[in-house]
Symmetry: C2
Subunit: 245 residues, 2 copies
DNA sequence: AAGCTGTAAACTGTCAACAGTTGTCAATCC
DNA sequence: GGATTGACAACTGTTGACAGTTTACAGCTT
């Protein structure tokens, strides 16, 4: 499939090859088609996609800034590898940002936005009753996306979405499973309730709590959870040595 | 001055032209040498720095991802222009991040790090006694930088520093002035105290408060402060029309 | 046999040239 | 007179080629 064939034609869809290449490589990384640690050859990518090396190089530069690849001078570019501690840091940062966005949306919410949140919640409750985990997972993503969008802080949104992408670099399994739908649902309800009521501080805490629980649920599924996770005030150098992988 | 002459030679300093160009253009943007809204010509930049257009294009791609420039297909690159509302959003986001970093440092702090904070505070008190605003300003930056570094979350640091850079795109004056050193000092003391004591939640709130106050002090100096700032729950579209500039 | 050295292949960094697009401006038509 | 069209200039998008570096491997030395 040629890159240009993806979307129906429209003037605004005519992008530079750089953008197309960047999007495609990003997709391959996020789907795991290009696993973390993989070394990327410019010429190989260029040949594979039928373009010259220029656009590929530019795309790599963009992906580097986005944190998805690392570029070493005269050696090449590799898909970033994320260790256990770094993943925990990303989870925490993401949680803090999500809390901020919940708080911000609570301050700026409109009735229409609140209605959207309520709709999503209703659909999620339906999914639970039908025991449809896949549908619940999709709605879960939509619920989060709605808050991210409605918070209205576009820079926060960019940063948040970048971090979510980056987190895909850490392991791959488990990311699309929600074991305890009921617990997840209760947390969503708490978030939505606080936002709708305009209780900004409560919304922030509910958002952070939700992601912290999600983090713990996910990390608990990992092989031998390094004890460093629980220990507070732990030394940085020490943690580095305990890096997963 | 040639780009290569900046630093003493070391193997790790041998960077690609792309990196050198990106750094140089970033410097010109942050110093205001290239004002917001300025249109950048690849050929002109390339000629000016004595390189070809390739590295310049790659550097532009990096600066775009960093939020410092905007690239429009087939039209060119312009230094990003930030309006009033966007600046307020950036301040809020930065505050939230700084709070997160204070909180995180409070959890992970070491004695050596606490000693550094105390040293900075002492030096700042000296600067106040000497009524040396410039010195206080430098130390203020160092104090913030220390927290950013000691929080240990490297991704948070990257994001935070990127946002600080981006904020330079909004106006330029006033950014390097601190009117009320005593008030600023008290806030710093509150942050440091909470961190040293390990009171993470207090540290977070002190950090957020500090930046919120800084934001208000700065925004208050702007010409006709749009009333939108004070109004909570304000409509997004309306705010957009009130954009400064 | 283990380690070192030199050579060659492969790849990255950079450049200059070509192709395609956008914007300008003057001439033309209604 | 105003709007439209066409050509020209300037610039961006892309390409292929060349130079310098890294890496792997074969051959040599100890």
């Amino acid at each position: 499939m040629r890159l240009e064939d993806r979307k129906p034609f429209h003037a605004s869809n005519v992008q530079s090859l750089t953008v197309l290449v960047q999007r495609e490589v990003e997709r391959r990384i996020l789907t795991g088609e290009l696993p973390a640690g993989e070394r990327l050859s410019e010429s190989a990518l260029a040949a594979d996609m039928g373009v010259s090396r220029g656009p590929v190089r530019e795309a790599m530069r963009g992906l580097q800034q986005a944190g998805l690849v690392e570029i070493v001078a005269n050696k090449g570019v590799v898909v970033r590898k994320i260790g256990y501690d770094e993943a925990v840091d990303l989870y925490d940062l993401r949680g803090s940002l999500f809390g901020f966005m919940c708080e911000t949306m609570a301050r700026r919410r409109t009735d229409a936005q609140c209605a959207v949140l309520r709709d999503k919640l209703g659909a999620m409750a339906d999914a639970i009753r039908a025991d449809d985990k896949d549908r619940y997972y999709r709605l879960n993503i939509e619920f989060h996306a709605a808050i991210v969008e409605f918070c209205g802080n576009s820079r926060a949104r960019t940063v948040y979405e970048g971090i979510v992408k980056e987190m895909h670099l850490f392991r791959r399994r488990g990311l699309s499973r929600i074991e305890n739908m009921e617990a997840s649902m209760r947390e969503h309800e708490a978030i939505a309730e606080a936002i709708v009521a305009g209780r900004a501080e409560d919304a922030r805490e509910a958002g952070i709590t939700h992601l912290r629980n999600g983090r713990d649920r996910f990390l608990a599924t990992l092989d031998p959870a390094p004890e460093s996770l629980a220990a507070a005030g732990r030394d940085r150098a020490l943690r580095r040595t305990a890096t997963a992988e």
